[in-house]
């Protein structure tokens, strides 16, 4: 055939940068809103600390200044997980499987293009989590300065638990991205699944039928078991063991649970990213 000079496909780096920029542009409003809420909360805490100090200074003889400790706990990761469930809805807004023709028709392999776009959203999500976690780490220091009272962290707090919010948000993001990629109503699928799971748990738990009781136990294990969702999403801190004691957080358990649920989410994401219009 006659030689035609072919145009090159774009490099992955260029597409990754562009998708990150485009997704960032889409998420800008939500990001600003989140920042305003955080700054507002921080300001409210600092204001409360300043008021407490002022009251204490006006009445120095009325006993020690009492302020609730502002603490960082890995369990706040649950909040990030819920927020992370919503992020893919913004990333893929208006691009349900029947309306993703523009995205698919670009000169990039379909699965890698989906990964690139999802990666762009994930980077912004991580930035938001970083800002939030940094806020949680820094605000107590200021409160401490204002009140002169030491702020403590959650009991048994260990270094790796700083990572929990990031991993937890990532797992939730991957699951929600799979829903956004593979379904026309991701919100319904995400929260519908939760409702059905919760409803099933409540229903089967009350049942006297042995099979249903077993199913209920299995469902509980899926949530609160050794490698259940809770261990991955909220770390393993403050878990009560069979004897009613607060168990120490376990890095091995958290890593195992995170790897398990991360792998399940990634597999779902891969399957939906491969899906093409049929």
């Amino acid at each position: 055939m006659t030689a035609i000079s072919l145009h090159a496909a774009p490099s992955w780096r260029v597409i990754a940068v562009e998708q990150t920029r485009a997704v960032g542009l889409r998420m800008r409003g939500a990001g600003v809103l989140l920042l305003v809420i955080q700054v507002g909360l921080a300001a409210a805490m600092l204001d409360a600390a300043a008021r407490a100090r002022a009251i204490y200074e006006r009445h120095p003889g009325r006993g020690a200044m009492s302020m609730t400790n502002i603490t960082f706990s890995p369990q706040v990761a649950v909040i990030f997980s819920f927020l992370a469930l919503l992020v893919p809805l913004l990333v893929w807004e208006g691009e349900d499987p029947t309306r993703r023709l523009y995205h698919w028709s670009m000169p990039v392999g379909q699965p890698s293009h989906a990964v690139t776009k999802a990666l762009g959203g994930w980077l912004w999500l991580m930035l938001a989590v970083t800002v939030s976690v940094a806020g949680m780490a820094v605000v107590p220091l200021f409160v401490e300065r204002i009140t002169g009272q030491p702020q403590t962290y959650a009991p048994h707090f260990t270094w790796w638990e700083w990572i929990v919010p990031f991993v937890s948000a990532t797992i939730a993001y991957v699951f929600a991205s799979a829903a956004a990629l593979g379904t026309r109503q991701p919100l319904v699928w995400i929260f519908g699944s939760m409702l059905i799971y919760g409803g099933g748990l409540a229903l089967f738990g009350k049942s006297d039928i042995p099979v249903l009781v077993d199913v209920s136990r299995a469902m509980v294990t899926g949530i609160a078991g050794t490698y259940g969702v809770a261990a991955a999403v909220a770390g393993t801190i403050d878990q009560v063991d069979a004897a009613g004691r607060v168990a120490a957080p376990s890095l091995v358990r958290w890593t195992g649970a995170s790897a398990l649920w991360g792998a399940v989410g990634a597999a779902l994401f891969y399957l939906t990213a491969r899906r093409r219009e049929g």
Partner: protein, 310 residues
């Protein structure tokens, strides 16, 4: 079996399919289609709704997988080289509801440009002016025609060697259709391009098209250069004796027939002399034969029918 040509020989094809079939579950969308778009051609692919035009295009871009058969675009298999094929194709889809409604037109052009290293910004600005695009408008606020113009600009601005346009004038007002055609003519004059154009409005593209393919009942029933169609498909008016039995002699070559008691008005495919000879040998007398417009030819190919008047 079609008596019309469905294959071209001695030509290089930039886009070609071989026995291409696609089934949606048990419903056939394409049956053994052998599309041949010669290099540098402007090829009109026509067919009624549901004939398989858009399905063919999606397979060419690896947006759909065929059930069987193979595809070549610029000598490449789109399934094996999807990114490279799409980097060399300017595509205007029929459906415009593809998200990105939140993006402004200017930002969308910027976004698109990053995907196509061959993007020509000067040309993109020229197209934006020609199509009266407003960079500050959000995509979701555009009318169908405005959205279509954005798509055409996106498809042309990286000067691809192949253009695949699926109903490119759908939603455009007559003035904008004319402008779009002018832009397309200029584009083809400046940039060597092979164009595959799916449309219901063949006459709009008659001045630039040089090949035609007709999909009917999910099969390619005709494919040829346009001049061959114009020469070969003619309308014959003939006087016939009462009880004339010449109908069987022509078989599937007659696409449209209007038959009165002693007269027939047929649209027939074949060499003019041969057809006239066939009429004469069956006892009929051809009163006149004439070429037909592309519109009528397309209608005859898409909808063969028989009308009997008394």
């Amino acid at each position: 079996m079609s008596v019309l040509p469905t294959a071209m020989i001695g030509t290089e094809f930039t886009v070609a399919t071989h026995d291409l079939s696609k089934h949606y579950k048990y419903v056939p969308a394409l049956r053994k289609v052998a599309l041949q778009v010669p290099t540098g051609a402007v090829y009109l692919l026509v067919g009624p709704n549901g004939a398989g035009k858009s399905t063919t295009i999606k397979i060419l871009l690896d947006l759909l997988r065929p059930t069987s058969g193979s595809v070549e675009v610029l000598g490449m298999d789109p399934h094996r080289h999807p990114a490279l094929v799409r980097a060399n194709v300017g595509y205007v889809p029929e459906q415009l509801n593809w998200g990105y409604g939140w993006m402004r037109v200017g930002r969308l052009l910027e976004h698109h440009a990053r995907y196509f290293p061959s993007w020509d910004w000067e040309y993109a600005k020229h197209l934006s002016r020609a199509f009266q695009l407003r960079p500050d408008q959000r995509m979701s606020t555009l009318s169908k025609g405005q959205g279509r113009r954005v798509h055409i600009a996106l498809a042309l601005a990286h000067r691809p060697p192949v253009l695949i346009l699926d109903e490119p004038t759908d939603g455009l007002d007559p003035v904008m259709r004319d402008d779009m055609l002018g832009v397309l003519i200029d584009h083809l004059a400046q940039t060597p391009t092979t164009v595959l154009l799916c449309t219901h409005h063949v006459t709009e593209f008659e001045q630039i098209a040089d090949h035609i393919g007709v999909l009917r009942n999910n099969e390619l029933c005709a494919q040829m250069p346009l001049h061959q169609l114009k020469q070969g498909l003619r309308r014959y008016r003939a006087e016939v004796p009462t009880g004339w039995g010449g109908k069987a002699m022509f078989g599937a070559a007659v696409l449209r027939r209007t038959t009165a008691p002693n007269e027939v008005d047929w649209t027939v495919w074949g060499e003019q002399d041969d057809v006239a000879h066939q009429f004469a040998s069956s006892g009929a007398f051809v009163r006149d034969s004439a070429t037909i417009s592309l519109h009528d030819a397309t209608l005859a190919l898409l909808n063969p029918r028989e009308t009997v008047t008394t």
